[in-house]
Amino acid sequence: MAIKQAAGRFLGVICCLFWVSTVATASSLSYELTPRLIAKDTWLLQGKLEDFSRDNGANIVNTAFIVTSEGVVVIDSGPSKRYAQAFRSAIASVTDQPVTDVFITHHHPDHFLGNQAFSDVNIWALPTTGRLIAEQGNVFAENMYRLAGDWMRGTEVLMPNKPLEQTAMTIGDHRFRFLSLEGHTGADLAILDETTGTLFAGDLVFYQRALTTPHTPGIDQWLTDLDKLAALEVALIVPGHGPVDAKGKSIEQMRAYLVWLDKTLTQAAFEGLSMNEVMKIPTEPEFADIALTQYEFIRTVFHLYAGYEEAAF
């Protein structure tokens, strides 16, 4: 009897997997991307404040495009081939200009797995980002298939084709400045459109959505990078995740949370807390409005606490 139960459950899991993918195929998966004008020539496709799922097709990321006088510049290609195809249609719905250049802010899958739909144009990324995509891209892609299911169909890793070594570039009537930073993944590109004062911060800035830490070189580094961003002359910040911010509040929120994280983990290690105990520490009430804070805090303890423990031995 126990055997049947075991086998039944196992088959159940398998059938369930097929069932999900069949249902997903039957209904048409559509990202419904609607570009929103956020500055002169500048359009945003804002993702949900959620984690990757089969409901949202991993559309939790902000992508954007700038319509210059000599072609369209794209910031991040999105989480899947299907997303990026919808992205190109969305661009075509507001301009006849061709896409000429894509900039990938960092090597996380939701920011570059749409590259296939831009294979005909320049895809720029920091050289280190290119190396990281080559090393980890396929593992990320597999993970995304698992989390987002059929939305990912046909998606494969396409490497950026232009290593970005310049610190500035003029494309048509827009002048772009590039900052090569490290805080979120070790290779993070922030792009300032000096023509409009719009800062595309990539995942160096999350706003109203908890930041993620799986590849950060450390909170200190991240705080240093935020200082650099805060020092820029900026009219509007476009975070990697969350709403745009014209007042610099997103950077303040990031700073407050990172400082709290660092202090909390340092003190926990100094008191000898085990990882389980740290994961149960409630986050501060001031972060209560930030989506997924307690969830991302647990992930962060997984990512970073061993390092803090090590320093406290």
């Binding site: 126990a2 196992f10 996380h108 989390l147 000898g272 389980n276 090590e310």
Partner: protein, 278 residues
Amino acid sequence: MRTFPAILVLLCLCVPMAAWSQVNNELITQASHNDTERAEQADPLNSPVWHYLRARFLGESPYQFDDRVVVSVPPFAEDPTQVPLLVDVSAIDEPLLRLVVWADLNPIQHIYSVESADRHLPRIAIRFKVQQATPVRAAVLTESGKWLVGGQYLEAAGGGCTAPSMANASPYWESHLGEIESRSFERAMNSGRSSQRYKVKIIHPMDTGLVSGIPEFYIQQLEVRRPDQAAILSMELSQPVSENPVFTFDMSSASVTAQDRYKLWMRDNNGNVFEQAL
């Protein structure tokens, strides 16, 4: 460590299959005579292999599920190679002979067992490797011969950006094998009594033997010894204990006296012995 994380992730797909067929074969022989007498307590975690593993780890002794056996794991295994696991049986006010901890659906289920000379089991935190979502169990044997069982379900689906760290592929451990760091902390316990917490880290790859071409290589025994070499705490460890293990023990102050200078003693399956004063 040499158990390359990506390989571990892939193993999720194949290793448990082998484990399943093994489980099923043994179940065939057991199910017949167990069915009649085992109408007792249903497994609160509904595991398909509960009866098989109960028989294996607890034998035919009586058992009951008991909330005082607290198993604490995170709600999901963000890093399947380093899942923190804390077991606390301090709410049980009677002598305890032995504690066994395992994960039902791991290819190697047993994580550790522990016995203590004074029959007071400390609160123990470690980290372990998990292959897939699974119930995680702890069972303690009371003096009356009954097992009290606690458990917690561990989700191992992961989240976004969850590829494990690649730093593990470095050969750092080869020149640092067996290096131990330890520290003690004064702790207040819920009961108001104070306790001494020992936290220990040792450099060791803890290879499971499940990755092809990499033989198993892991610490099998750990003892906390008094100056006269008598063990006050003995642990048997299995392969799922994480690379570079970090152990946390809360010893009640009653068993820690000022003149005691405990020593930690460990031995791996290759016969290497590691020792350090705590």
